[in-house]
Symmetry: C2
Amino acid sequence: MTYCVGILVQDGLVMIADTRTNAGVDNIATFRKLHVFEAANDRVIALATAGNLSVSQSVLSLLGDGLEDPETGELTTLMTVSSMFKAAQLIGRAIRRVYEVDGAEMEKRGTTFDVMVLLGGQIGKGPMRLYQIYSAGNAIEATQDTPFLQIGEPKYGKPILDRAISYDVGLVEALKLGLISMDSTLKSNLGVGLPIDIMVAKRDALKTGLSYRIQEDEPYFRDLRDRWSAALRAAHQAIPHPPYIDETF
Amino acid sequence: MTYCVGILVQDGLVMIADTRTNAGVDNIATFRKLHVFEAANDRVIALATAGNLSVSQSVLSLLGDGLEDPETGELTTLMTVSSMFKAAQLIGRAIRRVYEVDGAEMEKRGTTFDVMVLLGGQIGKGPMRLYQIYSAGNAIEATQDTPFLQIGEPKYGKPILDRAISYDVGLVEALKLGLISMDSTLKSNLGVGLPIDIMVAKRDALKTGLSYRIQEDEPYFRDLRDRWSAALRAAHQAIPHPPYIDETF
């Protein structure tokens, strides 16, 4: 399993991904799922993947090699596409290419062709955007109404985002909320695990503002988890008793 | 969809269930999913159901009619079984009986035979117990280590329970935590909806301490939701900024 979340707010982009892969519960490994493609003053693109590891690694390899543009025939990579929309389409084509090669045989052997990509970033003077790309290569985009997208195991970490994320939340606040959402998922799902990779990019900066790996014993993340747990305890204890509970309780 | 949670703590039992049933998103109705069987000073039993409504209603009807005890041949109901373990077995048998009648044809038509039951309560001098009974009629039981069980859509409401529920939490606190867990689910899943039925029974009281329906506009539940949202906002804002974020953010 995997948990990745992308948050696109007024001030910029936050991408967070865990690093655990597992086949069942007894074949666990650490793989980087968050990848940054960057050329200062030109583009900053972050990509997070979930699903079958062989598929997502093949997609990344194809993106590194480049794919022909269907119109011009030119070899295109994430470093050369001219817009984020074209980047999303490029990834969609890469996924379909991997499906052409491996999909039929995988399905014949009972393995689902399952991959999901979060793509966030900004190219040149274009807008900053955040996409979620599906196994079929189609994509949806985050909007001001729904400024976050999740892949992998989204449910445990969704309530805090549903309550607290809005487009006008500050960038650091968005990062903290993403980390809390990740913490809720870590606590409830064994298939999601530390270390955690984070990437933050300010809008129009066209470079990574922060690229960081939170390791198992990182004091800040441990402190955030402790504070969050303590605050939740205090919060539910501070809620009054229901009026329909009488004194005998 | 459905969300029901049972919490068995030192002081007693809390059972909470929503009332929404839906086929897709456009066929929504309200059905009671929490049922209480009670005889003062003898037994208090609460039952919550999730899954296919035709199956859970048939199971309830069979339980009302009674099933033969496989050893004695006597007609047995929840009002006559001699222990909570036997009550769980009785429900298991009722589920299997419904499967015998409807299962094959349902599956032939592409409908999953899908039912899940939470059973909590106490009979006579026996211990208070909480079970989760599966579609095959087998059951698991809550323990002091894991004092809550969930059926239906468990994930959104699980993080708060994972963090805050323990066996020594007070009964009213367990009720509040169950309501917060329900609120998180309501917020994130359209298939779970008000009104909410709640049932609380103190250990060894052998009667319902509280049986209550929270309606759409109930001031206490609205207040609980508002306070919880406000407390979460205050909690994440009070967490310090990551040390690896510099002043330019």
